[in-house]
Structures are given as structure tokens and as C-alpha cells.
Symmetry: C2
Subunit: 315 residues, 2 copies
């Protein structure tokens, strides 16, 4: 029996864009959008909301900024039955750059922050809420947070007006027991709030950790088509949709986009399971060193990577 509270959020464009600076064609973004509407997915995270003063518009595609004109080109005249989300990073957006909700096609702003930035995140998210948006806070990289800092952050979050808080396994370093532990901690510390899960696939655990989070009553689930995302990527939405039982979900339109776009795209901007990402996950490290390695001609020198990592750990 399905749980109607469960919502799926596709972040193919937002997270996948980390691979190519959001240089996607409008056709691709439109195909993703229309497929998600047809598939019954609840939210599409279409990019970041960033200040034009903070990033170059030649280096970064439209989805680094999510301006209304760009959104309108995708959505067309009549918006489908899906909510659009944009992510805002602390310090990379001016509150004034966020239009009131009634002037925007966006429905939700998700604020991403580290544990020690929770106060700033709450301030920005409440600002967005006051402007009329659904809101959410993604607390990143909790696998490296000290328990006491996390407890304090959760205490702050419990008192804020933001209804949705995400458990984020930024480094793809968590096993099911850690997801279970943290999901229970979040549920206990944040009564009345919805908990979400955003998992990475370094150790081929993104889907299974998402299932563990579902079992632990997390009700917002992030995923991307064919798992596109930085490094090892994310929870593949096609597996998640095969698993979920809500009759409104329909896998077929998503397979169509994977067939039409993603298979070829993965050949051009490779993501997915590979040993340097796996090792970073297993060691609870940021994937940036692995990504640099995999993008270099040393890509397949796995033993050298292993040795450099062990050496690095000794410092």
C-alpha cells in the first residue's frame, strides 16, 4: 500500500548541471519537464537561483540563474501539474533578487547550507516563505558534522517556520544504519516537519539509502534521470519510480527522455559509479579530488589513486 505523503523531487537539471555548468539545450530541459509532468513527479528542481553578479553568464547556462524568461520558455503558456523548485546557496544570492511568488513560475525555494550556516539558511528561507514560496532547507555534508553541532542546528531548525528539512548525504558515505540513525534523529528533533532525503551513489547506495529513508518515514525523495549528477551521481529516478507504488506515477515518459537524451549525454559528460568516487565515499571525503583525478589522463590509475588517498589520510 502506498503512502500518499511521499513526494518525489527530480533534480536532473539542477544537480546534473553541476557536470556541465548547466549548458543544456532548451529542448532537453523542456523534454525533462514534460516527462516529469506526464510521469506524475511532484517537483522539478530546475536549477539554482543565483545573483547575476555572483556568476558569469557566459560560463554558466540559464539554470544557474532560473530567470522568469527562461522558465517561461520551458513551461509554455500553461504550466503543467508539477511544482518548480530552485536551489539557493547561502551567500550566492541577494534576497532582493528573489521576486515575490505571484511574479514567479517557481513554487519552492530550497536553501542549501552547511551545519554551521543554519542560522543564515533559516533567515533566507523565511524571507522566501514571507514572499509566498514553499520552502525547504537542505543541510549538507552531515557525515562530517560533529554530533553536538548537528544537535544545535536541529534545535534551531525545530523552532523555524520552514516545514521541510533534508537529510543530505553529500559525500555518498553513509550506510543504511547511518541513514536510519540520522532519519530517526531528525524525526525526533523536528516534530511536525517533513524530512527529505538526498543521497549520492559513490558506494551504489543512493537508491537503497532512499528506501531506508522511506522506511524511516522520510517523505520527500530526491532523484535524477539515470542518476545524473556530480561524480558518482544521485539516486536514479527510474529505479525509484519502479519501486514506489502510488498509481499516479508512470515510468514510461522518463524512460523516453533517458533513451532520447541521457544515454548519449553520459558518454559526453561521464558520471556514475567509479572507483575513485567509491573510495572518496568510503573515506567520507569530498569528491573533488576524485573528480579531478577522473577528469585527468590518470583516470584509470586506480592503485595510484588509492595510494595518494592513503598518503593524504596520514597527514
Amino acid at each position: 500500500m502506498y503512502r500518499p505523503e511521499i513526494k518525489v523531487l527530480d533534480c536532473t537539471i539542477r544537480d546534473g548541471g553541476l557536470m556541465n555548468n548547466w549548458q543544456f539545450t532548451d529542448e532537453f530541459v523542456r523534454d525533462v519537464y514534460q516527462a516529469l509532468v506526464a510521469a506524475g513527479v511532484d517537483y522539478m528542481e530546475i536549477g539554482y537561483k543565483s545573483s547575476a553578479s555572483a556568476f558569469s553568464k557566459t560560463e554558466n547556462g540559464a539554470w544557474k540563474f532560473c530567470e522568469e524568461e527562461a522558465l517561461r520558455k520551458i513551461v509554455g503558456d500553461e504550466k503543467g501539474d508539477i511544482k518548480l523548485s530552485a536551489m539557493a546557496d547561502i551567500g550566492r544570492i541577494e534576497p532582493n533578487d528573489i521576486a515575490p511568488k505571484d511574479q514567479s513560475l517557481l513554487d519552492m525555494i530550497r536553501v542549501a547550507c552547511y551545519v554551521n550556516e543554519v542560522d543564515k539558511a533559516i533567515w533566507l528561507a523565511e524571507h522566501c516563505k514571507d514572499k509566498g514560496y514553499e520552502t525547504c532547507i537542505n543541510v549538507m555534508a552531515v557525515s562530517t558534522a560533529l554530533e553536538r553541532d548537528l544537535d544545535e542546528a536541529l534545535n534551531d531548525l525545530s523552532k523555524c517556520k520552514i516545514p521541510n528539512i533534508y537529510l543530505v548525504d553529500s559525500f555518498g558515505s553513509m550506510y543504511s544504519e547511518q541513514i536510519e540513525y540520522l532519519a530517526r534523529k531528525y524525526k525526533t528533533a523536528l516534530p511536525g516537519k517533513t524530512i527529505g532525503i538526498h543521497a549520492h551513489n559513490n558506494m551504489q547506495l543512493a537508491f537503497s539509502n532512499t528506501v531506508t529513508a522511506i522506511i524511516e518515514n522520510c517523505n520527500m525523495l530526491d532523484a535524477t534521470m539515470l542518476g545524473i549528477g556530480r561524480g558518482a551521481g544521485n539516486c536514479p529516478i527510474e529505479i525509484l519510480m519502479s519501486f514506489l507504488k502510488n498509481p499516479k506515477f508512470n515510468l514510461r515518459p522518463i524512460l523516453h527522455v533517458i533513451e532520447k537524451h541521457l544515454i548519449q549525454m553520459q558518454r559526453e559528460i561521464p558520471w556514475g559509479y567509479y572507483i575513485p568516487y567509491m573510495l572518496a565515499g568510503a573515506k567520507n571525503q569530498h569528491p573533488r579530488v576524485s573528480m579531478k583525478w577522473v577528469e585527468s589522463e590518470k583516470r584509470d590509475k586506480l592503485v595510484d589513486f588509492f595510494d595518494s588517498m592513503v598518503d593524504g589520510m596520514d597527514i
Copy 2:
């Protein structure tokens, strides 16, 4: 803290050989063998024990038969600190073709069978035990077994002399809750026996289901290098070794073989996550239809595959 009872069984050659009829070079098999010894892996399953009368020796490489001469070429004069295993399929081996243990380099015979063949499997495995081997029975495809048939098979197994019984997710169709349920059922039905886990990766759950099985006190764990195996493949041993805490395990030699052989091999005989395999897992189907599709020029026609599967299910 690690659990010393846990044993890792690498079946890179046996299961990987399903992809290329065991046409591996001696150099590759020797490199795998030596790496597993250096890595502290407990068992190497080097192939099948089959009767020469049952299979062609031109179509199948040496590891379909595991004759002593072939084993000696790999092991050299002095056998390393690892146990060698071969799998025997019911009906494809004459008991007389199995030499007494003191004339063989093999340490263990694993008998594979379906639920309705358990009596035959017990007979063959006890025959091998009487000849001096460690023994094991792998009950395949339990995801399609009726509960009553499985209970009867477990009852028979509980009374036999074979100490190791495997839970096998042949179709890669099980989620953690099913692994948990079946592992508990096996533990309860088979007091005093060691339970093993052999998982497939159709839904990217092979490693995570192996971890679930560990939590449920399964102590024999199958895995292969880079997950090589039929279709979506198996639990990748490199992730499993990163997870296990026993200080005797050493990942580095395994990475060396992956770097030297497996990366290139995967380009020639592709295995691993792909949507036709995922859909077969999600629908609890044998992967043979998916494999045929993926090997054809229709490989990337994902929507057609989905439609054909849905049509097939309607019959």
C-alpha cells in the same frame, strides 16, 4: 568491531565467465588468484565442475570444467592461503567425475539448485562431503518460490549434513525488507548452519542487500571484481572490502587487477546496471530477455523494451 565469522567468496571467474563462456587467459585467472590471496579473501570460486560429456570444450573455457591440470597451472607449486571452490549444477555433473578431496586442489564444492531440486542437491552435496570437501548448497531464484515449497525445502536442508546454505537473489529483484525477511527465515529454519548471500545488481542493490544480510547474521558473502557477472552483475568486491573491518582484508591488490584487466574487459563484454536489467529485477523476471535485448541492436530502445515487457505481463 568486525565479526571474525564473516567469510568473503570471490566468484569473479565463475560468475564472470557466464559472460564469455569462461574464455579467460591464464594470466587473468592467475592475477585474480594472486590478488585474492594477497587481499585476504577467504574463498575463490574458480569455475564450474561439469562433466566433459555435458558441454563442449571448444565452446567453453577451462573454468567450465575445473580440471586439476588447469587448476595447477594457476596455483603453481605452492597453494596460497585461500580456499578454492567450484560450483556444480544439478544434472550437469556425474558424481564419479568428482575426485576425492586428497587428489584435488579444490577445497569446496557448491551445489546450485532450484527450490524443487533440493533433494537432489542434498544428495550430490553429501556425496562431495563424503569425498572430503567443504560443501555448500545455493538455492537459486527464491524470489519466485512459493512460500510452502520454500518452507519444505528449508525443512529438508535443516536435516542434511551440509553446513552452508545460500540465500540467492538470482533475479536481482529483492529489496532490503525481503532480504531481511528471508535471512531471518533461513536462520530460524536452519539452526547451526551458516547462511550465505549471493546478490545481483539489477536495481543497484547488490551491495546494500549484502550489508542487510550481514546485519541479519549471514556470514558467507559472494562478490566479484567490478561486479562482473551476467547482466547487471554482482556485488562489487571492492565496495564490500571497503566496508568490512577485518584487518586481514586488503583492498589494494584487488584494485590492481581491476586496473590491469577489468576496466578493459567491461568495454569488451559489457555488464553492469542498465535499464532492461533494472526492469527485469523490478518485475522479478529472469534476465534472459533483457540480456538478449541488450546484446541486440535494440539495446538503447528502452521504451520499446518497457512496452514489450508490459505486453508480456498481460498474458
